[in-house]
Each structure stands twice: as structure tokens, then as C-alpha cells.
Symmetry: C2
Subunit: 356 residues, 2 copies
């Protein structure tokens, strides 16, 4: 058990930016929003899945939409409205909240309604990274129903996706509502049990994000290499280093989609990396050859300071290093890969786990 | 009180086709679906608003989407699923159903869930015609809340539009869900009271549709003029007669939108009428001059047989007569015109009531 105070938010934002693989919503904006909520309503208790009471009712909350829009659009208490809407629909009160994805601003999204409602959050999430689509959560892969779920905007509109024939249809209907709501909204899923959280969530990811951020900050303070600090906390490898020479990004169908091209520097000089993204980085090719795919993590950080660079802020001229991390174990089962492997995103390649 | 049996469906389809002003869903398809339901589960009792028990809970059900799609897409028991979804959400059981609009297939849509559930329907509706958008109902103009409402498809997906800041947002979210569901879905609105029905519905419209159809059939049998028969039942006037020379129709944003051009014949020879539609006919211009606008009814019927011609079946070469009817009184108040007058559809013209 620990307290999410204003002091830890900067570290979480750095770590969640790295784990977000480009997406999950802008972590700086998320940090500001969480800071405001904690300043107003006080710190939030963070419980491990084991520390949850056995009879807990755990609601997963998150933002949905295009990160490009999320950096501009007011969100206010969207996720609190979504929480109240799903409580109202199910007739059950949440006793704890959990992040849908540890990547980007969604890592701290639950802190806002948790601070407002005086609830704890769970040190875990439904991805162990970020993914672009609602149904891509370990919860749903391992049998938690994806519906009913509530979608709410900041204006006072809310809807319930009540029942769908499969999780992809929940994504489809929620995305259509989100687009109407201005391309960014928040959602809340019907409560899970503690048993479901312990069995299906990726554990200890909020503290992992915090520890990653702490390590980066410490390395900067000490004049050490922040990239080495990241890899010491989270086992992974450097995939590429270079300069961004092209970003082809469009906000379409409720996502930020596109391609990032990096020309190699230093040890990668003469090579080129091309990364395709849908909010998150999906596949990295070096000189045409696939070197990493979903569900493994493809993370861009500024080469000098280890600062994560998300999809919506990527731009020409940035010096970035691309890090790769193997996906959480829950994703590499056949059921997990069916939902978030390369083929789930339309790539014909098979998943080959990144060796580190 | 009367019984909606298989025998009355053909007349209702003709009358509802006329009152549909081009839209409301294909009346022939609606008739076939209602016939199947009544054959399977028996006739449906039709009550006037006054005959409703004072404690009745009346659910408005209807189809939503593009009529062009509605003639092809399977609907099955969509409206029954929507009914059950809103009952489940509100915790209240419907004791009667009411049509959202008397035009087109929506006139008989409530008969299907009513037959299935053994409920009566009310001889009234929320438009006294057809309109393209969800919020364009007399119910909502006069204070009935438009939410919560349920949207369901034939596959097993359903959603609740729970709360919106105004009725236009309910249309916006329901339309987005409908498009995902395949451009045709069904909805059900939270129950109304008998007092609300009596005060805000356009009364006696199901019997009006039946009487219109009966008159057309009788005239055909007797070798009389079916157009004169229509005007004897429903006061209105002939606006134009001619041959369809162009139909510019596209299915877009969940509607069938376009323009219909008719070259005059007989007394209209040398003139041209152009009608713009959004599912329904919105504005009729003769040689550039506006002769009729919403909320008044602009209805196209085949000149020879008085058969209504809906938007999705309109085609080059048809001989049609355009009839105009003044809108129900509930629409011509300032509140009514704000929702369904010409300016609500983006036309700058003021409403001038059709004189008959």
C-alpha cells in the first residue's frame, strides 16, 4: 500500500509515457489533471491486487479517443461521470478503481475519480502497456465481460453500451459515441471482483511506472545515462537510435494513425527505422525487416533525457531512441495474441517474442 | 378500440406511405413484418389516448436509419429487443406501445413488439407524419424527456443513450450507434404516462392511415379518382403533377438525402418542381418558388393509382402527383417550429402554413 500524492505524479508520467508505446493519452496533460484532483480532494491510496478486500467491486476507468485531440480537449470530470453512470446502471457502488492501461495519461486517469469519490486504486491495469482499442485488455481476454460499460463526455452526455455480441462490438459502439462526443471521452466498465482482478490484471504496473520515472530522474540528476536507467528497471533493449525524418499522422475514425520514419545515427548510421502506429506503436521495421511487433512494447524516448515521446508530439528533427520490451506474460498466450498480436492489427506476420 | 389484424395492414401501409412524406421506412416492408408478427402472435388491440388506463406506461418504439438500407437489411425483432432493453434499464414494464411516427413502416413498427409481448398500441404518434431525426417528436417538444432511450440491432447489440444535454444530442448519439449497427436499428424511449400521451401525441393517426388506405382502395375498386379520395379523407391540395426526370439520392451520415426533379404534365405542363429530401420531403419549389415546407406534408403519390412513392423507391419516369397537407396543430407553435420548421433543417425561409 502506498499513497499517490502530487509528488509521485511526475515520475508516473515519465514511466507511463515509456510504457505507453506512443499512446495512452498525453502523460503530461494527465499528470496536470491528476495533480489538480489530488490537490483538491487529497491523495489516493494504492493497493496491490492482494491487498484488495475479497469482496471489492473494482471499476476499470479510462479515456478513449485520439491522443491528438486529447491534448486540446477539456476533459474535466468525464471519468467520474462515467463511473457514476455505470454505478447507476448496475446498481452497485465501486469500492476501488483500476486503470484500463498503464500507458500515457490513462495510467493516472483513475486517480481523478478516485480522489473525487474517496476510493483507492489498484496497482495494476488491463494491458501492462497501452493499446488503441477498448477490447484489448487482459481482463476481457480472460473472461471478464466487457459490457455493460458507460461512456461520458464533459458536457453532460452519457450512454451505456449494454450488451454486445463480442468485445470488438463494444469497441465499435463506444468509439462511435466517442467520435460524436468530440473524439475524446471517458468510460467505466461494470465492476469486477477481486478474484477477477488478481487473475486477469497485469500487476504492479503503477509502481513500475513510478519506479521507471524515478530512475530516469535520478539518472538525469546524477548525470548518468537515462536509457540505461530505464533498462535497469524494466528489462528490454535498444532497437534503434536516430533522428526523426518524417511523421505521417492523421486523426481518423477516432484514432491517431500513421507512420514514423527515423534515420539512424551513431551505431545505427546508414539504417532507417519505420514504425507504424494506431495511437500506439504497432510494428517496427529496420531497413524493411521486422524487429518488433505488438504486443511487445515499442517505445520512443528522447535520446538525451530519456523523456518519452508520444505519437501526438512526435515531430521532424527529434533525436529519439527506440526501446523494445517483451509484453507481459498474459499477452503471449494464444488467447492474448488473438486479441492484441500483430494479426489482430492486420499484419500477416507471426508474433516473435523480443529476446533481451 | 379496434383490432389491428392482418386485414387492415394493407390500408395502413398505403395511408402511412402517404403521411410519411417520402420517409418513415418502406411501408410495404413494414407491412410484411407486421403481418408476420400478427400471424404468429395474434392481432393487436388499438386504444385511443382516452381509452388508455390512467396509470399506463407507454413506450414509444421506432426504427431509425436510412430507408434505402431499410429495404434490404434484416430487422427481425429489433424493436422488441429495444423495448426489453429500456424496460430493463428503467425497471418498469410497458403496458402499451406508441408509434414514434405514423409515416412509413414506423406506423406499424410498434405492432411487432406489441404482438410479441401481448400489449396494446395507442392510436396516436409523435409526429402525425414522418421526420428524419429522433428529436423531432411532439412528445419532446412538449416536455417529455427524450432519454433514456435504448437502441438495438438484430445481432444482439444494444446500448442506452442515458442522458444528454438536449434532444439533438440524443439524435446524434443514437444515429452514431445506428450507423455502426448497419444504418438501420430500432429504439425504445423510457415510458410515458397517459397524461403525457394525451397532451403531447398527435391523436388518431393510426386510424387516419387506415382510413386513407381504405379510401384509396375503394376508389380503385370503384374506378374513381384515388387522389380525390385521399383529399376527401385528409384535407389538403394538389401541389403539382408530372413526370420524375431526376433523382439525386445518396445514403450519407445515416440518412437518404437528395433532390427530386419533376417536369410538369397536364395543368402543370411547362413547369418544374424540385423537392429536397432528408429521408422525408422537406421543401418543394415550383419554378424556383417555395410552395410548401416542413412541417407541412409534401407527399408524392403515383398519379394513376394513388400509391405513395417513398424516397428510396423514387425513380426516373414515374408519373407522380405531389400533394400538400397542413401539419398537425402541435407543430405550428413556436416550440414546434423551432424543432421541425424549415429553419431547423437549415432553410432560411419562414414557415407559411399551406392554405387548403
Amino acid at each position: 500500500m502506498w499513497q499517490a500524492t502530487e509528488d509521485v505524479l511526475e515520475s508516473i508520467a515519465i514511466g507511463a509515457g515509456i510504457l505507453g508505446t506512443g499512446g495512452g493519452g498525453n502523460p503530461y496533460i494527465g499528470q496536470l489533471r491528476a495533480r489538480q484532483a489530488i490537490k483538491k480532494w487529497g491523495p489516493v491510496t494504492v493497493l496491490t491486487p492482494e491487498e484488495l478486500p475479497d469482496d471489492a467491486r473494482v471499476v476499470c476507468v479510462g479515456g478513449i479517443g485520439a491522443p491528438t485531440v486529447g491534448i486540446e480537449k477539456v476533459r474535466d470530470l468525464q471519468s467520474y461521470h462515467a463511473l457514476r453512470a455505470i454505478e447507476d446502471y448496475t446498481g452497485e457502488r465501486a469500492t476501488a478503481l483500476i486503470s484500463n492501461e498503464i500507458g500515457g495519461s490513462n495510467s493516472v486517469e483513475p486517480l481523478i475519480p478516485a480522489a473525487r469519490a474517496g476510493l483507492p486504486v489498484v496497482d495494476a491495469d488491463g494491458m501492462g502497456r497501452a493499446f488503441p482499442e477498448f477490447q484489448m485488455k487482459t481482463f476481457f481476454v480472460y473472461g471478464v465481460p466487457c459490457c455493460p460499460m458507460a461512456v461520458a463526455d464533459e458536457k453532460g452526455n452519457s450512454a451505456i453500451v449494454r450488451e454486445t455480441i463480442n468485445p470488438a462490438w463494444a469497441e465499435r459502439l463506444a468509439r462511435a459515441l466517442t467520435i460524436q462526443m468530440g473524439c475524446v471521452a471517458c468510460y467505466a466498465v461494470a465492476p469486477m471482483t477481486s478474484e477477477q482482478v488478481r487473475r486477469t490484471a497485469v500487476p504492479n504496473t503503477l509502481s513500475l511506472a513510478r519506479d521507471l520515472g524515478d530512475a530516469v530522474k535520478q539518472a538525469r540528476d546524477d548525470g548518468d545515462d537515462p536509457l540505461a536507467a530505464i533498462l535497469s528497471v524494466c528489462p528490454g533493449k535498444v532497437l534503434f537510435t536516430g533522428k526523426v525524418v518524417d511523421v505521417d499522422r492523421r486523426t481518423t475514425a477516432g484514432f491517431a494513425r500513421g507512420t514514423l520514419t527515423i534515420d539512424g545515427l551513431e551505431s545505427c548510421s546508414g539504417s532507417r527505422m519505420v514504425i507504424e502506429f494506431q495511437n500506439e506503436n504497432l510494428i517496427a521495421r529496420r531497413d524493411g525487416e521486422i524487429v518488433c511487433t505488438v504486443p511487445d512494447l515499442i517505445c520512443a524516448v528522447a535520446t538525451d533525457l530519456g523523456e518519452p515521446v508520444t505519437t501526438e508530439l512526435m515531430r521532424y528533427g527529434l533525436r529519439v531512441t527506440i526501446l523494445g520490451f517483451p509484453a507481459p506474460e498474459l499477452w503471449i498466450s494464444p488467447e492474448g495474441l488473438a486479441v492484441a498480436g500483430p494479426q489482430a492489427f492486420g499484419y500477416e506476420t507471426d508474433y516473435v517474442r523480443l529476446s533481451v
